[in-house]
Amino acid sequence: MNNRKLKDNLIKILIYAASLLTVGVLAWILIYITINGIGEVSLEFLTSAPEGESGGGILPIIINTLYIILLTIVIATPIGVFAAIYLVEYAKPGKIVRIIRFATESLAGIPSIIFGLFGYIFFVTVLNLGWSILSGALTLSIMVLPTMVRTTEESLKAVPDVYREGSLGLGASKLRTIRKVVLPSAIPGIVTGIILSIGRIVGESAAVYFTAGMVSRLAKGFLDSGRTLAVHMYLLAKEGISFEKAFATAFVLVVIILLINFSANKIGASLDKTKV
């Protein structure tokens, strides 16, 4: 009897230790990056262009990142939302739906370096878009598609069927029912999907590196190339150019990710509230 209790307690200690380790590693990374990075971040750093190999700031890189985010979201949101609408509102269970789901799962499992390679052959070379914001955004659109589809699907499924019945029962067409009743109720979920996708875009380096290029200047348009924050950070760290700037960039990245997670949670919580 006592033996069992001892064993239980030992296992409990292991469980606590593992959980502590998980949270601890996160805290460690955040604190380490903050302590070393916050001092390097200044208004000047955020508002000036890089100079030479290791000087200057990251303004053009922030703007490049925003370009890529914007373009990717513009491309991926309609496709993802439409796909989810098809899956939830129209599709009958069967072979096609199974294949679509398998493809979506597979897409989510493909490593970003493969997306990078593909984007490089297809968008950069075959479609001749060159290393550009557009090539990067198209590649990332495919990458974030599963996230978009899944979150939208979840939120469409959470819309009660009685709304659909009510609308159809009034003689409203299916499309009108979706547009006026189903989609408005699903908007918080769709926004969560967009925010999560932005998180992925901001953090992505391998796929962007091969498609959007790595020059450190401001892209002159969607067909011009430019590096994003994550790529910038990679190059600084990899080449050992400047650890100070790398820390500062890491800090900026982490703050962005924190903000993104925070807002996704806020919207998720409001979504739960409206459900009740």
Binding site: R4, K5, K7, D8, I11, I15, Y16, A18, S19, L21, T22, V23, V25, L26, A27, L30, Y32, I33, P78, I79, F82, A83, Y86, Y90, A91, I100, F102, A103, E105, S106, G109, I110, P111, S112, I113, I114, G116, L117, F118, Y120, I121, F122, V126, I142, L145, P146, V149, S173, G203, E204, S205, A206, Y209, A230, M233, Y234, A237, V254, I257, N261
Partner: protein
């Protein structure tokens, strides 16, 4: 009695609205097709990605020779030696290392979240796990480069850039995947199982390990497979800590080069057969991932039934 004129009028009205409805039905049909095509984008993407990767990398494998390519231990593009065995082994070792570190910690943390943690602690642990998932891989790599690499060099000797460093970083990076999916599958174990076990006088811990984890087995297995996928596909973080020497490692402190690193490091300047050999490395990586996907699909389908 309705006059003939009125009847004719009402017939005409009905015909008019029939026309209108036809147009509306037509538009609805078109839009439904747009939805359908959007849904097929995932299929199209996977197909096009597969075709292009194989098209670009496949021929090189045969040009180099399947055996040479897969079992060759020398990678010297300038000397036309394209053996990627060291990279395959590097990827496999690093992934095994990540699993050894990440899976037990991940499952135990999942048990904590699903079964033991009071609500207020859950409210700390869950967002932490989400945040771990959100941190960019370059940041992990950078952290590993400045924290783990020097630590390994100081305590175990060598350069520090090593299989061990890669395993530790990847082990941390797969935690969110392992934890989230394990929590979901633990939560979906029917309450009756747990109650049944507790009612027989088993302790909570015994119930978790003897009843709940076995019942959630296929979900946890799916979590591990997804973790493997994430580890084997990770690029930038690994490059920063693994040393990237294309040699088969003899010990934990030896440097390794993974398949992903091989592609990312040399793609920038490769051309000709060298470039194709990098795409061919992508083909092998892609095959690994597809096998994992198919395994995952089998497991989750089984879990669904």
């Amino acid at each position: 009695m309705e006059s003939k004129e009125e009847i004719r009028q009402s017939v005409r009205n009905r015909e008019d609205s029939m026309e209108e409805n036809k147009l509306q039905n037509f538009i609805e049909k078109i839009i439904e097709n747009i939805f359908f095509i959007s849904a097929c984008m995932a299929i199209i993407s996977v197909a096009v990605i597969s075709v292009f990767i194989f098209y670009k990398g496949g021929p090189a494998i045969f040009q180099i020779g399947v055996k040479e390519f897969l079992t060759g231990t020398t990678w010297q593009p300038l000397g036309d030696y394209f053996g990627i065995l060291p990279m395959i082994i590097g990827s496999i070792y690093a992934t095994i290392g990540a699993i050894i570190i990440g899976v037990p910690i991940g499952i135990l943390t999942a048990v904590f979240i699903a079964e033991l943690a009071p609500e207020w602690i859950q409210n700390i642990v869950r967002p932490s796990v989400e945040l771990l998932a959100g941190i960019p891989s370059v940041v992990y790599g950078f952290f590993g480069l400045l924290v783990f690499v020097p630590f390994i060099a100081d305590t175990l000797g060598g350069a520090g850039n090593s299989l061990l460093a890669a395993s530790v970083i990847l082990g941390i990076m797969i935690l969110p995947t392992v934890i989230n999916i394990s929590v979901t599958s633990l939560n979906s174990v029917p309450k009756e199982y747990k109650e049944g076990s507790l009612a027989m006088g088993a302790s909570h811990i015994q119930t978790i390990f003897k009843v709940m984890i076995p019942a959630a087995k296929s979900g946890i297995l799916a979590a591990v497979i997804l973790g493997i996928g994430r580890a084997i596909g990770e690029t930038m973080a690994v490059i920063l800590v693994a040393g990237n020497t294309p040699l088969i490692p003899d010990s934990l402190t030896d440097p390794i080069r993974t398949m992903t690193a091989n592609i990312a490091l040399e793609m920038g300047y490769a051309y000709g057969l060298h470039q194709e050999a990098l795409f061919a490395t992508g083909v092998i990586l892609f095959i690994f991932i597809m096998i994992l996907n198919i395994m995952l699909n089998l497991f989750t389908n089984k879990a669904g039934e």
